[in-house]
Symmetry: C2
Subunit: 695 residues, 2 copies
């Protein structure tokens, strides 16, 4: 088995720092291992005690021998020795719960780095430090001191005594221990079953991403809480497992990212890169704990039933819920299914006159008088080939009315999600019965539709990784001329444009000149009016520096040439045909912690103000580029309008793919900025281009 | 008392259609009145029975006499007679629960109109039809057949037997009965107390808005679910009560609005008008049932503590929760409070080294060992003058750890909201103890912050209505010249612009000409290049019709004049100075069901594609205009950028206010479109203008 499996499946667990005093973390951890039926060997490690909680205690892990997993809870100063002991004892995974490492500053970071080195030398994986441990739900292996495990009901006590350590198909990992086990408690409260929960704390070695990838083969769905996303290979490995994955990545805002960095000392990846990368890799991103559970639950319960498309039918006993569901369908970019005329006719036969036989289908409160009504209406809707997913809403129905609906729902083979907007005590068995039937249920129509949108999005956006690679390989990369020098002092618009042109990327006709006569000749050649631009290696904002002159004619070329050539640092003047008309976009490639990232979106003078871009990691497929473009608002300006022809989107997409292919061969740390790229009915042309190198 | 108070405070209630058969709505309604300690007179009305559920029954309301409120549950065909009976008997309010009226089509609508007329003749108010009734929580007056009232615990049984009919300070009204009482059940499950809940169904007479306004004097906060918002005076009356009000208005999407119309047959107000009107009137709009309860609860619990500003401090036992709260603060447009150096110093003394003494303040899980830590940290943060609101987060803490935090929170005088991300069973008494201390609590940091944002928004955006009126009156309206004819066949850009100019609104220099010689003369007068525009009364899209020519010189004026004058329907040619440079906005005034509405936002050729506008009802204050502008993305383009001067926002705001003042005097049904309005550093100029009249 993979080493990390020890976190939930080890046959022997040591608690290093086990305590003889009740209520301390070191004692609780031992008791939690005893509490949930763990059948492996439990090894309390204590300097002097020979027995703790009825178990033989040992002075060291080595003295005990045969330990696969160790939970280290000794004070920070003693952690290094404990890690060393575990390493020498052949432990596979050591969990360091103790805080006081990288999160406290440079000294703590150095101590943490030492732990990682020590573990690596021993061939041992290290979880934490500053974490709350992990739990295997099927094995009862609770290697954690979270107070949650004092409050759950042990299996032996029976199912009606509150939530227990419910095993199931969801794998969960969290960088935050407290929030992570809080989230676990809410999952168990909903009746969700978990395979394992792992908290990774400072992620000195093992990250939540890696834990999830290791959990994938044993799980039907994965959920994670992260405070940073900077390990590109681990992210791709997770995506490659193909398991539906839902991530809550905190630190969206700059202030939140700063707080995250101070919390665990992690690198910050710009949020739009995180967003683009997750979408590209088919991982569902959510923005709150509620949504993490809503979506994770839907993936787990509906794992056998993948939506065939985005067409959602709503069946409701309450007109109000139907309207809210419809609003949510539109808001989430789904399609309100258009029912076949035969379906509508069938529903008209079934429903009372004040119902609605069209989508949203309102079966009305008459379901309370006619127990077969819901089943008949559901059958009619589910049989419609134009329906991919059903969202079924009801509100204050109680007792056997709800039982009848649940029975009817259980017969539907397409994915079904339920919104039951009513207190639990009105139908105490409803949620459990729905869960047993594989139907996720939510308190509001909007939440049910949001979960449906995640199912539909994952089904539509995640072609398998091999297929994506094949698409990427299938595209002839075209010429990839050697890039120009790109250190800041060497950046030169003319050189970058010649490089782009050589690779088949369209740039304006033009050339660099070094005399007024040449300038005038070039203007005559390219046609009036022309553009003159100063060439100053390393100058980022030519326009603001007065280095760009538009509308130059042959008559004015000499005067304008001298004006530009006289600017500080000028090494020449670029004369180009003046193009206009069209939409100004930007195309950029820049380094990110996840690898080179492509940015496309609104360009020109309003780039910063509009902040309207989408990002994808390189390499990109055609699908990636079109999907990213579709996420921007500026893309709407490319469509035909009032008889005016639309822009040549295909040309722009081809340009982006050429640029992405070129950028793949640039040295690490290179930034390529094409802004603006003018896109019109006659194609896509790079009007300005810069290449810069970090450091 | 106002008539509608009978819905929750009547001293006598008739159930018309009371039934001798158990389990029927007509029997349940009688039993519900008996179940919750209602001390008034209960009058079952039945054609033949003399006793129902132990109460004397009467053949008619008139026969019983002295009835204030009647709940009518007879079949649709018998409703008219029942309403007539109630009217003659002097009933104040008749609730018609029966369905089968306007929601079924034209015939049903006619029958419904008859009910309204019959009630009006008798001076009686009518609630419904097609509703589920109402409930007074303090009086136990349940005039409803909702199954909810079979499931709540009567007061007599005791408080530990599940939710009862908890009285409190929240007034609730809902157009949907099932969703409304479902929402009520969720409110009671949270421990929220209500004054009354009213379902209004088809709203043939009484609307949810009106019910809320009537409830206002008796409530600390109001919540409503609406499926249409078309009664401007009722909306303004509700806002004028000054009670914090939260509305969930369904039908945001076009498809949702169609579903709403088919559900209750209500008029649809464009969603952006709804959005703008609610914001303008200081009413908080939410988008889901969860959020309605989250925000309504915060308004009710924090009613004595209004946030002084938007600066939020986060105090958390979990780093993860602190990051999520910080993200939410930024996302909601609030300010992460900057703590005073003295506060940070004080916190450093209090917190462990791996905590964080800066906002978000991480007190860490050490609160489990040190019971006074949270209280000391909270006191330090709450004493900071730079903090307006506290959001306090914790996760899996249990039992007495939670009690210590609740005790500490109870001493804070500033508004506090709690995020406790953990299952209920971990701290079963926490929510109740927090509620008793006037502190709302939520399962996630994002939801706590969202509720805080509603408190802060309401406090900052809702100057009292009299103050708003005074501001409106205080602005000298300036000249209001008589508007030009605005029927479609008379629309004429030149006339509209002269009217605007006379009112002090800047338009380009220009005039209409009727010969080539005049055109050439005008071009010389206004300077080259000039603009020539065809004048065709009623032509909406001049540019698309080839009716606008830019860059006209004196030399080309004759040819261009003839080209335009030859277009079909041309009555002249407008010659104007050609202005450029700046941002193209739009300013429009159009009729809406809520009254004339002002729209401002992104203009020019991209108006439809960008769909970037904000709306306010007339009249508007300066605050309204600036606030609306701030809601658009295009407003960012008006700011200074890289040394380029910013646009003259003041001039634009003044222009909008002049236009709004002018529009107030236009005949009903008039639409005024100014698009584009060119806004630059040198002011705001209306480049194109049209005035059209409905029908």
């Amino acid at each position: 088995m993979g080493d990390l499996r020890a976190l939930w499946a080890a046959r022997s667990v040591a608690v290093v720092g086990a305590s003889t005093r009740r209520g301390t973390p070191g004692r609780l951890a031992v008791e939690f291992l005893q509490r949930y039926g763990y059948t492996g060997r439990i090894v309390p490690v204590h300097p002097t005690a020979t027995e703790i909680a009825g178990l033989p205690a040992y002075p060291s892990v080595r003295a005990a021998g045969g330990v696969e997993l160790a939970l280290i809870l000794v004070p920070a100063a003693a952690v290094a020795e404990a890690v060393d002991d575990c390493g020498r004892a052949g432990v596979r995974v050591a969990i360091v719960g103790t805080a006081g490492f990288a999160e406290t500053g440079a000294e703590g970071r150095a101590a943490q780095d030492d732990l990682v080195r020590s573990a690596a030398v021993a061939g041992m994986r290290l979880v934490g430090p500053n974490c709350i441990g992990s739990a295997g739900f099927a094995t009862g292996l609770v290697a954690s001191f979270s107070p949650l495990f004092a409050a759950l009901t042990p299996q032996s006590v029976g199912p009606d005594s509150g939530p227990g350590l419910t095993p199931g198909g969801i794998g969960f990992a969290s960088a935050s221990g407290a929030l992570g086990f809080g989230t676990v408690s809410l999952a168990l409260e909903r009746g969700m079953g978990l395979r394992a929960a792992v908290s990774t704390g400072n992620e000195a070695d093992v990250t939540a991403l890696e834990a999830l990838a290791e959990l994938a083969p044993e799980c039907v769905a994965l959920m994670g809480y992260l405070e940073s996303l900077h390990d590109g290979p681990a992210l791709r490995a997770l995506a490659a497992t193909g398991k539906p994955t839902t991530l809550l990545v905190a630190g969206r805002s700059a202030a939140g990212a700063r707080a995250a960095a101070s919390h665990t000392g992690a690198l910050a990846t710009p949020d739009r890169v995180v967003d683009g990368a997750l979408r590209q890799l088919g991982i569902t991103r959510v923005s709150d704990v509620d949504e993490l559970l809503d979506v994770g639950d839907a993936f787990a319960l509906c794992s056998g039933r993948t939506p065939a498309g985005p067409r959602v039918a709503v069946v409701t006993t309450s007109g109000g819920s139907g309207i809210l569901a419809t609003d949510a369908i539109v808001l989430n970019g789904l399609t309100l299914a258009e029912l076949a005329p035969s379906t509508v006719d069938a529903l008209k036969e079934i429903l009372p006159p004040y119902g609605s036989a069209d989508n949203p289908v309102d079966v009305t409160a008459t379901v309370m008088r006619d127990r077969t009504l819901m089943a008949r209406a559901l059958a009619a809707v589910a049989d419609d080939d134009g329906v991919d997913v059903l969202v079924v809403c009801f509100c204050v129905l109680v007792g056997s009315d709800v039982d009848a609906i649940v029975a009817a729902l259980s017969t539907v083979e397409k994915p079904v999600l339920v919104a039951r907007t009513g207190a639990d005590h009105l139908a105490p068995t409803a949620a459990g019965a729905l869960r047993a039937a594989g139907i996720p249920s939510y308190p509001t129509p909007a939440r049910a539709v949001r979960a449906a949108a995640a199912l539909i999005g994952a089904a539509s956006r995640a072609p398998s990784l091999p297929a994506r690679r094949a698409e990427s390989r299938g595209i002839p990369p075209g010429p990839t001329p050697r890039p120009p020098e790109s250190r800041a002092e060497d950046a030169d618009e003319d050189a970058v444009k010649r490089w782009l042109a050589a690779a088949g990327v369209r740039v304006p006709r033009g050339r660099a000149v070094h005399s007024a006569a040449e300038a005038e000749q070039a203007v005559r050649e390219y046609g009036e009016p022309a553009v003159l631009k100063v060439v100053v290696p390393g100058l980022a904002h030519k326009t603001e520096a007065g280095g760009v002159l538009l509308g130059v004619t042959a008559d004015t070329a000499t005067a304008h040439y001298h004006r530009l050539a006289g600017l500080p640092g000028a090494t020449g003047v670029l004369v180009e045909e003046q193009l206009s008309g069209g939409v100004e976009l930007l195309v950029g490639v820049a380094p990110s912690p996840l690898g080179p990232a492509l940015t496309i979106g609104a360009g020109g003078v309003h780039t910063e103000a509009l902040d309207d871009v989408a990002v994808r990691l390189l390499p990109v497929t055609e699908h990636d580029v079109r999907d990213a473009l579709g996420q921007t608002r500026v893309a709407r300006l490319l469509a035909p309008l009032r008889g005016r022809a639309g822009a040549d989107v295909d040309a722009f997409v081809a340009l982006v793919r050429r640029v992405a292919a070129l950028a793949a061969n640039l040295p690490p740390g290179t930034t390529l900025d094409l802004n603006p790229v003018l896109v019109s009915a006659s194609g896509a042309v790079v009007l300005d281009a810069a290449l810069t190198q970090e450091g």
